[in-house]
Symmetry: C2
Subunit: 244 residues, 2 copies
């Protein structure tokens, strides 16, 4: 029996391209109470008896680019939790994977272990662990098995590249995935007592031979399609099996 | 004549030690509506006819350390703007300075130019500038002259250290100060249309010979004392002269 029953899910996503297939698949529509004067765009509906909201970080109007990174992830997550009180929040998107951890482009992962940052280096006692984050992840191994997904630690930072100073911390924290939002969403969930996990599809390999930007662009459509398909399957699994 | 009149000021600060002298000097007290279930702690009062709120990021209960960095800065700033609608928000604290820019330990700075990040590297057209931030700073040169403060660009990142990958971006953006919150507060202010600037006192020199952590610890009390004295002087100057 599940320890946490789920009847409402908030999915926080950074990029329009990541969210579009899911919004279309579930037939979600914009609510009347979009966050006023903020770039965030929400899409809502029901899927197999579950209330679903996809909260997209929206667009920076100055540069016409998606609001990737931790700052919009924090505020968008806070608002969707405050205004919708979802039973669980999911950080969903594409991510970098590691060949050294068995990752391949297109792989579906659910988060396990703590959510961590690899770009918060504060070498003072206490502050060091605070910087890394160590925010909790719900136990979703039972869902990963049903989705045929891998599981691994997600490490978050605000840069698309990965210099040695970041790679070293990802290695220390045993990261299988590198993203730009998950630990920030997890921090807000920890503050508010909301169960959290991440769903990520590998679009590029951090330790692979290809250029990250080119690999990311090449694989984005494939990865977001797989992500959407996984989330459509995940929602009824959450309703049926809950969180352990 | 000032372009923006100021009768209320919110000062967002990361560390208890940074905020304590200011709270004591102005005789601020905790309001009845502290943010519920969140670590942020607010202190309010009036000083020379101006409504003042000091919003401290509070403590991580797991490690008993101050909530430094951009995540708490974003959410604390958002809440204080939403609930108090201050005429101006000030990011105040200690910072790293640069001898190459004429900075010395103990120097008082007001921000000038854009607020930028040095740890948001996203090398894709459009995303690159978005990552750097470029959030606006109010014109406070007239206040800097009256406070005998220096002015310079503040660059924000979530690490206390400064590897080459961060130093390179600080140099590109002509940073005179390195801190861990200002650009995140500036982002929230930009979103909400709230005037913003930063007040920082140098506690360590990024390009100096001393170890950053030891220098920071050694100078923290001196720097927070100077910061508090400057803010006590700044509040009536804001009321008298406003923002240009």
């Amino acid at each position: 029996m599940a320890k946490v029953d789920i009847s409402s899910v908030a999915v926080v996503m950074a990029m329009r391209a990541e969210a579009a297939p899911l919004i279309a698949s579930l037939g979600l529509v914009e609510p009347d109470d979009q966050p006023a004067q903020l770039p965030f765009r929400w899409y809502e509906g029901r899927h197999r008896g579950v209330s679903v909201i996809v909260a997209v970080n929206g667009v920076d109007p100055r540069y016409d680019v998606d609001g990737i990174g931790t700052n919009p992830a924090v505020l968008n997550s806070w608002l969707v939790i405050e205004r919708r009180r979802p039973d669980v929040v999911v950080s969903a998107g594409t991510a970098g994977g590691f060949t050294s951890k068995g990752g391949e482009v297109g792989d579906l992962y659910l988060s396990s272990g703590d959510l961590v940052f690899h770009d918060h280096r504060i070498p003072i006692a206490g502050f060091s662990d605070y910087g890394v984050g160590h925010y909790p992840c719900a136990d979703v191994d039972h869902l990963a098995r049903r989705l045929d997904a891998k599981t691994g630690v997600v490490s978050t930072g605000n840069s698309l590249d990965a210099p040695d100073v970041d790679l070293d911390l990802m290695a220390v924290n045993d990261a299988s995935l590198k993203d730009m939002e998950a630990a920030a969403v997890a921090w807000v969930c920890w503050l508010s007592g909301t169960p959290f996990f991440a769903v990520k599809v590998i679009a590029d390999l951090v330790d692979g031979p290809a250029d990250t930007v080119e690999e990311f662009k090449l694989n984005l459509t494939m990865a977001t399609g797989r992500l959407s398909a996984a989330l459509v399957e995940l929602v009824p699994l959450l309703a049926e099996h809950g969180l352990d």
